[in-house]
Symmetry: C2
Subunit: 460 residues, 2 copies
Amino acid sequence: MQAFLITFCISAMDLECASQETVKQGLLARGWPPIKGFSKHVKTKVLEFFSLLIKLGQDDPRRVVHSLKAGLALTLVSLFYYYQPLYKSFGVSAMWAVITVVVVFEFSVGATLGKGVNRGLATLLAGGLAVAAHQLANLSGRIGEPIVLGIFVFLQAAVSTFVRFCPQIKARYDYGLLIFILTFSLISISGFRDDEVLELVHKRLLTVLIGGSTCVIISVLVFPVWAGQDLHNLIASNMEKLGIFLEGFGDEYFKMPEDGESKEDRPFLQGYKSVLHSKTNEDALANFARWEPRHGRFQFRHPWKQYLKIGALTRKCAYRIESLNGHLYADIQAKREIRSKIQETCTTMSMESGKALKELSMAIKTMVKPFAADIHIENSKSSVKNLDTLLKSGLWDDETDLLEVVPVATVASLLIDVVTCTAEIAESVNELATMLKFEVVEPTVSPEKPETGQPKIGIS
Amino acid sequence: MQAFLITFCISAMDLECASQETVKQGLLARGWPPIKGFSKHVKTKVLEFFSLLIKLGQDDPRRVVHSLKAGLALTLVSLFYYYQPLYKSFGVSAMWAVITVVVVFEFSVGATLGKGVNRGLATLLAGGLAVAAHQLANLSGRIGEPIVLGIFVFLQAAVSTFVRFCPQIKARYDYGLLIFILTFSLISISGFRDDEVLELVHKRLLTVLIGGSTCVIISVLVFPVWAGQDLHNLIASNMEKLGIFLEGFGDEYFKMPEDGESKEDRPFLQGYKSVLHSKTNEDALANFARWEPRHGRFQFRHPWKQYLKIGALTRKCAYRIESLNGHLYADIQAKREIRSKIQETCTTMSMESGKALKELSMAIKTMVKPFAADIHIENSKSSVKNLDTLLKSGLWDDETDLLEVVPVATVASLLIDVVTCTAEIAESVNELATMLKFEVVEPTVSPEKPETGQPKIGIS
């Protein structure tokens, strides 16, 4: 059976690849390859697919655990069918417990809870309304009943579908509205054939409750994955990625090509790119996190909005870094003497902002008040002032070609923007630290405030 | 009934607002407001909610049509219950047609087709495998059967859940895998109680087919919404938004504050912001569009990948514009004489890039080969050259404070980046034009190539 499933997946992937290859040719134009070549092709695809799966598991072992948890939950609710006394009380309605488990069980506790609560409440509300609709329709006689029911179904489906377009409701209650439409339609229509509508609603509600609570219990008790923790880590790691770029940027930009190997082999300088598109992920995680109860260091009403604010500021900084990155390999032609004049201040600005971001990221990760970040930001700001002084003092001689100054001046200016962004990020991290009463840890060595270069601190 | 639904939605929105207000206080700390104040509060919320709904409908009337279509589809399949001859052949299995309509009917044809095909194929495959599993389990006797079935259910759920993490499969077949797990579990488990498994599979498949085709037929025939068309329009309008910014930027940046009203009242300069986050939307639309058959000017294997490429380049340009926007209100202190020297060339660069982007956007919208865009790009490139010459000629006198030159030089440099990005966008739009054989329309007036300023052309 697993073999069948794998074959299905491979053919799915295959189709995907084929669609890339045959954009222009059309699918029908492809001939059926000879059996031998085909079996070799399948073999390669199977191996590729397995190595992809192994990589997915290695990247995040929680995925393997989640899959086993899903299997466990489903096997547990299927006991309703196997075990006679349980089957007696629910009969085929037990099916709803199975369906609930399949659709409600999600990767994180928050997503599972959100879907479970949505499903439970929507079933309750829609069940109640459907019973009322059934009673009303009953009054209109055997011929009028289907017409009245039809009108009810049409109206509730149209109104609920329209309400699902409302962004605030879509974000949190979309699934609930879907289940509302489903349950209302099913119960009010079934009621036409089955007069024990209340019994139907009761069984449906109970089985959904059983399925939903199985999901929630397994999700919370067996190696729970908290969306809140994931959001917390994502925000911190995004900041760290920018920090890594900025720490490396100065040296990389001012290094002359003759210094050694090609400049383009720097994967650590490309890590920031994922930050540019992380908004959707952050929003989704924050939505899930709002459903989660107190866990570890996170309360029920944790200030997730502040995390989103920090995330938005981090992205703003990432946009500047994207512009900076464009200059990394483009300005090689600018003369060494032009660049060397501002090399030290620019490298310090970049390095200190990077250190500040990494420090802030560490502060969020460990939930300890950022101690050295302010010093790094001060250092970067004083470098900005140094740069101002340098520029005021007529840095380049009169014969300097202004054309060659422009790209270097742009990099300096973008770095000034980055310093401003970093200060804004630090401010919002400090707000978060105050909200959550981050621990204060005394540094082991008293920090000094050097003019430039690294400050000596214990906890960085 | 509608009143109930509205109350539910309002309380949902209310809870949302409450959660914003009571982040620190916790929900329990809120007192129950006096009845009078409460009813006034509800009244305000009802009015707010209704005006929001009206706005949603006005913004995109297709939403209203979609809601009515959803109501229609649901009412149609509910005929299976009301009409005796139909009910005879399906019985309670007709429920599956209703469920299919509720979950498969989506806003665009592509999304509906994708879900429908996924659901149909997954039901077929899972049904077949479940029958096989049932036969195998039957061999192991009355006691062994539930154990073997349990193992099968556990294994397929775990494996399928894990496979859903694979990004390529998640993008197109996620829903299919969900339905695979659902159907396999339901049929193999039900088989334990009901020996007519084949009959069960047959009915399930038929009802899913009926529900799915009802959705697809209504979706395609009644005011269809094509995801492909939406993607096409989105890509074109994103480009236009950048064009609008660039056309306005030069005048706005070089205008001195004493020239009139505050600089901050420029909503047309903020339109580009939505481009920064449109990746998720573009990817989703492209995924849906791949399911769509030939419609209007779009073929079945339309080059959607090229649209995504253009979208990515447009976003790259938007990141530069975000950096430019930061300078719009920050450099007011730079002296008039410093800025005025490069005002003309910078304004031309910005204006011509903006015109080129608007022209390219129009070319995509109308599917006519971009005619004047190349001229605008040439104009902007020659402005870059003019700027180079200006800078080489020692533009500012020796007493000019270099510090004041830096921000202006940055704006110029970012504009040069924008010109490069625009040229890249033009190239990929031209690729698209070749792929799709865009119509060639002769301009009514032969274009001239002016040194600077607007070229005179007929179709711009």
